[in-house]
């Protein structure tokens, strides 16, 4: 188990390095002089020169990459051009709302999607199955910001049950926090749940046609016992894989949802940084999300061993 973990982490290192090169070249190979751009329209050549030196823009590209990557390894992602604050500090400050939103979404998703997928597989080719799958395709097709505004209109503007926008920090009481993330988490969960429900159904169908299920039925076990104990446990691996893969979609969704609901998380930080052309922050945030995604996928791989004893690596 430990050697498997070590192997997975070792194989992630070159990927992280490649990601870092991608992100760095993306931001630095852009047409135009970033120093001139950042200094603004009224800057004197001397001011432009100061910015150029501060960002080491006068150095050759490979040197700048080594400096940036070396600092990133020591968790120093540079300073924001806009607010002059360290990028890691900016990310840390905004971690809580994004984290709470992601966890709430994940819990909602599993609670909605797994039962729906199981029921659809159990009642396959009936109107219940078709209804659930139609719902899945529908919620998969409606963009998250459309669902977001729809929910906001119904539950916040019309019914006034929940706040329209904003985020209440955990320090101000967990109930208020949950109320503030309820709508965005619901909007995100609907999209995410569609994906998970479909995979749960497909995976359950696969398992339900196997011999041990027939044996369990011949033994006279109840349908519920067969579905949950005998089938769902075996259908778990693909479902967890997709939850892992879906994290990329979830992160993208978080960026959009935070803008819709005005939540001061990392997603908003990203969008603001991009519109302000605050390159150190853009680089830092994308690197942060990518490394997070790689770590999540390692955790997903590790969880296979829990579900399937054959996976030992």
């Amino acid at each position: 188990m430990l050697t498997y973990l070590a192997g997975r982490i070792a194989s992630a290192v070159p990927i992280v390095l490649l990601v870092a090169i991608f992100i760095f070249s993306l931001v630095n190979l852009t047409p135009g002089d970033p120093a001139v751009l950042l200094a603004g329209d009224n800057a004197t050549p001397a001011q432009v020169e100061v910015i150029r030196e501060r960002l080491h823009l006068d150095q050759p590209l490979p040197t700048r990459f080594v400096v940036w990557a070396g600092n990133a390894l020591r968790l120093d992602l540079g300073e924001s051009i806009y607010s002059n604050q360290p990028v890691t500090k900016l990310i840390a400050q905004r971690l809580e709302p994004t984290f709470v939103l992601a966890i709430a979404t994940l819990i909602l998703t599993v609670v909605i999607a797994v039962p729906l997928g199981v029921i659809a597989a159990w009642k396959v080719n009936t109107w219940i199955d078709r209804g659930i799958m139609a719902f899945a395709v529908l919620s998969f097709s409606v963009p998250v910001f459309v669902i977001g505004y729809l929910l906001a209109y119904v539950f916040a503007v019309q019914l006034k049950w929940l706040p329209v926008q904003g985020y209440v920090p955990l320090a101000d009481g967990i109930l208020a926090t949950l109320r503030s993330v309820a709508l965005p988490a619901m909007a995100l969960a609907l999209v995410f749940a569609a994906l998970i429900a479909r995979v749960t159904r497909a995976s359950m169908l696969e398992v339900l046609s196997e011999n041990h299920i027939r044996t369990a039925r011949a033994k006279g076990l109840s349908t519920r016992r067969i579905l949950v104990i005998h089938a769902l446990k075996n259908a778990g691996v693909p479902v967890i894989t997709v939850i892992g893969i879906g994290f990329a979609t979830l992160i993208g969704g978080v960026v959009v949802t935070e803008s819709v609901f005005n939540i001061p998380g990392i997603g908003r930080l990203t969008v603001d940084a991009i519109t302000r052309r605050d390159y150190p922050v853009v680089q830092g945030v994308i690197l942060f999300f990518s490394v997070l995604l790689i770590l999540i996928n390692i955790a997903v791989d590790m969880s296979y061993a829990l579900f399937d004893p054959r996976v030992k690596g």
């Binding site: 070159p14 490649l18 990601v19 039925r217 959009v256 991009i274 945030v285």
Partner: protein
């Protein structure tokens, strides 16, 4: 030679079209898409000027001149929605085509070359580790707004998915008897790829291209919505929704029109993709039930 020829899997297009003609959901989706394409082409005939600002009639209710009312600058919402079809369809189709062309070319190469394949796999690993929409946002904002930029920005994160799919299919096809037979009688590289390998990849590629089209339409709306897409002047559904944010509480319908159109378009494309994949993978349709 003739024996080998007949062993080549036939292109699935013929039976596919026949099957699709019989399916109501597919007919409906195709009809909807055709209507949207026609609207996009004949936008100037169907709708008025989408750019004309009429401050006197800001946020006005539906009237003879503007059947869906006017937005916060007094522009005709219906006209903007009709012209907005152009951006969504153009981005969706272009990204699907770009993804297919580059994805298939790189994927076939990766499936046939051992070393090249390993390198391509590591590169796609890295690209897929970056959340697609972030990559698209970053590309679009850095390369300066424009339709072409948006298309490229959205296509780039889509390509690795297609590459991996094509490679896995090619790896499967390569070991089949008709391909080894073709290699053994000395079929040249290009003919081998064109006649024996590409036909096998067509089905999955078609399905994946459809999904790429759907996600590209959403992505372009997201970019416009966040203000990093094409210029806000150009009518697009995402841009219309971004404009409607400020007046959301007073005039929520301004959000509704583009939102519903966008959702319907993506839904139609996704249903097409699902039906395609059901048709091409008959395993799915005959499953036992509990």
């Amino acid at each position: 030679m003739a024996i080998i020829e007949s062993a080549v899997p036939s292109h699935p297009v013929g039976p596919l079209l026949r099957h699709m003609g019989r399916n109501r959901a597919i007919t409906l989706c195709c009809l909807f898409l055709i209507v949207l394409v026609l609207l996009a082409i004949f936008a100037p005939v169907v709708a008025g000027d989408p750019l004309k600002i009429d401050p006197a009639h800001r946020l006005s209710s539906p009237e003879a001149g503007a059947i869906w009312g006017r937005d916060h600058l007094g522009r005709d919402v219906f006209a903007r929605a009709v012209y907005g079809t152009r951006v969504s369809l153009l981005v969706g189709f272009s990204v699907a085509i770009l993804t297919t062309v580059f994805g298939v070319a790189i994927g076939v190469y990766a499936g046939l070359s051992r070393i090249g394949g390993a390198i391509v796999m590591r590169l796609t690993d890295a690209m897929m580790a970056i959340p697609a929409i972030l990559l698209a946002i970053a590309f679009a904002s850095i390369l300066n707004a424009g339709l072409l930029t948006v298309i490229i920005a959205i296509a780039i994160p889509e390509i690795p998915r297609m590459v991996r799919l094509v490679r896995s299919v090619v790896l499967g096809v390569r070991s089949q008897p008709h391909v080894t037979a073709a290699i053994s009688i000395g079929t040249s590289g290009l003919a081998l790829i064109w006649r024996h390998i590409l036909p096998g990849t067509m089905g999955p590629v078609l399905v994946q291209a459809t999904y790429a089209c759907a996600s590209a339409i959403i992505a372009s709306a997201v970019l416009s919505f966040l203000g990093v897409g094409i210029s806000p002047e150009v009518p697009s559904w995402g841009g219309m929704m971004a404009d409607a944010r400020s007046t959301f509480r007073v005039q929520p319908v301004l959000m509704l029109y583009p939102g519903v159109l966008l959702s319907l378009l993506v839904l139609a494309v996704n249903i097409l993709g699902d039906r395609l994949s059901d048709t091409l993978d008959p395993r799915k349709s005959r499953r036992t039930s509990l």
